[in-house]
């Protein structure tokens, strides 16, 4: 099979101004992906499917990724003109200074497509598409007209991540009900607080379960366990972590 760079070149040759970018994967698998521009996505997809050499006729998987807003702190060497005393006389000199710059990178949603070729027995080729942001401009072109198997998977991505696929024949929620307002796989999803009872609660779940109980109930439970020795709820939260630590050590 062609390498990602070769595929990128082939796409660029076939679709003018496709703007394909290779997203490297540093892990040992080296499964690099191709980031395609939403504007040309359908044409690129059609080329990948119909090209005799690639013949990517099978869409195996569609999934979403939620990238949150990020603030990146960078230290960059900056040249500045400074006025200071040099050899007893005041002079204007250029000086290299390290400067910390904070850069805001807006979050976005990403759809990832895994393609294989049944005819040529190769794959996968990984495609990525990114939305402008993760709030109001979340449209991506649907690839269902190219690969029919994308239909339900794009519906699932719409349901769980909130990416709106334009051109999709039947874009409804798939797993959650129609009146549901959230997108559960987004990283800022707040789940309903139904943690009243957790039989084997630990860590964050235990904290949430304990938050449902009054201080008196907690004290009574503590006393029942420790046989009269008073322990604060904070210790009750810390306990399972300590146990986990010993397990890891053993």
């Amino acid at each position: 099979m062609k390498t990602v760079e070769e595929i990128r070149a082939a796409i660029e040759a076939a679709v003018a101004g496709a703007g394909v970018e290779v997203v490297p994967n540093p892990s040992p698998s080296g499964q690099h992906s191709l980031r395609i521009e939403p504007g040309h996505a359908v044409e690129v997809a059609r080329f990948l499917r119909d090209d005799a050499e690639l013949a990517l006729d099978f869409l195996s998987n569609v999934t979403g990724v939620d990238w949150l807003d990020r603030e990146i702190e960078e230290t960059l060497p900056v040249t500045r003109t400074v006025t200071k005393l040099v050899d007893g006389a005041e002079q204007t000199v250029e000086e290299m200074v390290e400067e910390t710059v904070k850069r805001f990178e807006p979050g976005f949603l990403e759809a990832v497509y895994h393609l294989y070729s049944v005819a040529r027995k190769h794959g996968p080729v990984v495609l990525r598409m990114r939305t402008v942001n993760r709030t109001d401009q979340v449209e991506l072109p649907s690839l269902t007209p190219i690969w029919r198997s994308a239909e339900f998977q794009e519906r699932e991505v719409f349901d769980l991540y909130g990416i709106v696929f334009t051109g999709h024949p039947d874009l409804r929620r798939l797993l959650m009900w129609p009146g549901f307002k959230n997108h559960p796989m987004r990283r800022d999803y707040v789940e309903p607080d139904d943690f009243e009872y957790e039989p084997t609660a630990h860590d964050r779940v235990l904290e949430r379960a304990l938050a449902h109980q009054s201080a008196a109930e907690l004290a009574a439970a503590e006393q029942a366990v420790s046989g009269g020795a008073a322990a604060s709820p904070a210790e009750a939260v810390a306990q399972p972590e300590a146990r986990q630590g010993t397990e890891a050590g053993a």
């Binding site: 009900w177 009146g179 559960p184 789940e191 139904d194 009872y197 609660a201 235990l206």
Partner: protein, 202 residues
């Protein structure tokens, strides 16, 4: 009646019983489960009814495809929040006396999906459960054991007074509120008349 005397009379060819015993014997020996399954536990439930495990030995082989004809609801599998209103509605449609077996970790508590966004944390939040079977999924023997446990429970039910079956209690509620799909979760998240949170013990 004295148990020893009854056995003795039985040896002499005289059978003595009570109306209660006879009535409950009939009820427990022809429990008709409702024919529906929710997930992988249903596969074990099907296996239980087949020749190897043979639920028919206990009078429970007549799986009815209609809630109107069923006595027993075996909640076999994961109850998703999307499915929960349908399960409660089916339970409402069953005629009293009716019983519920929560089969497997998911039906009891949500199981491995407990902290997921779309799984109900136990069907006992909406309907009364008579027997819980732990396991993921439980073996057919475990379902048979639950069946026998339920039969013992039915056998022990008096026909009058406290603890009588619901169909003989004019005051018992027949219908349980069906949760509706809310914007973030099912509403209400549980039926307080049926379920209250056990305390976390630490």
């Amino acid at each position: 009646m004295d148990e020893a005397l009854k056995t003795e009379l039985g040896r002499q060819g005289i059978f003595v019983t009570t109306l209660e015993e006879l009535y409950n014997w009939g009820r427990r020996s022809s429990l008709w489960p409702m024919q529906f399954g929710l997930a992988c536990c249903a596969i074990e439930m099907i296996a239980t009814t087949m020749a190897r495990y043979d639920l028919a030995r206990f009078g429970g082989e007549v799986f009815r495809p209609s809630p109107r004809q069923a006595d027993l609801m075996i909640v076999s599998g994961t109850v998703t929040k999307k499915m929960a209103p349908a399960v409660v509605r089916l339970y409402n449609q069953m005629a009293d006396p009716r019983y519920v077996i929560a089969m497997g970790a998911c039906a009891i508590s949500g199981g491995p999906f407990k902290q997921g966004y779309n799984v109900l944390k136990g069907i006992d939040r909406y309907i009364p459960v008579d027997v819980c079977i732990p396991g993921c999924p439980p073996r057919p023997e475990a379902l048979i054991h639950a069946f026998m446990t339920l039969q013992k429970k039915i056998d022990g039910q008096p026909l009058t007074g406290e603890g009588r079956p619901r169909h003989l209690d004019a005051g018992a509620r027949g219908e349980f509120p069906v949760p509706v799909y809310g914007e973030h979760d099912l509403e209400p998240a549980s039926n307080p008349g049926v379920w209250s949170a056990p305390k976390v013990k630490r």
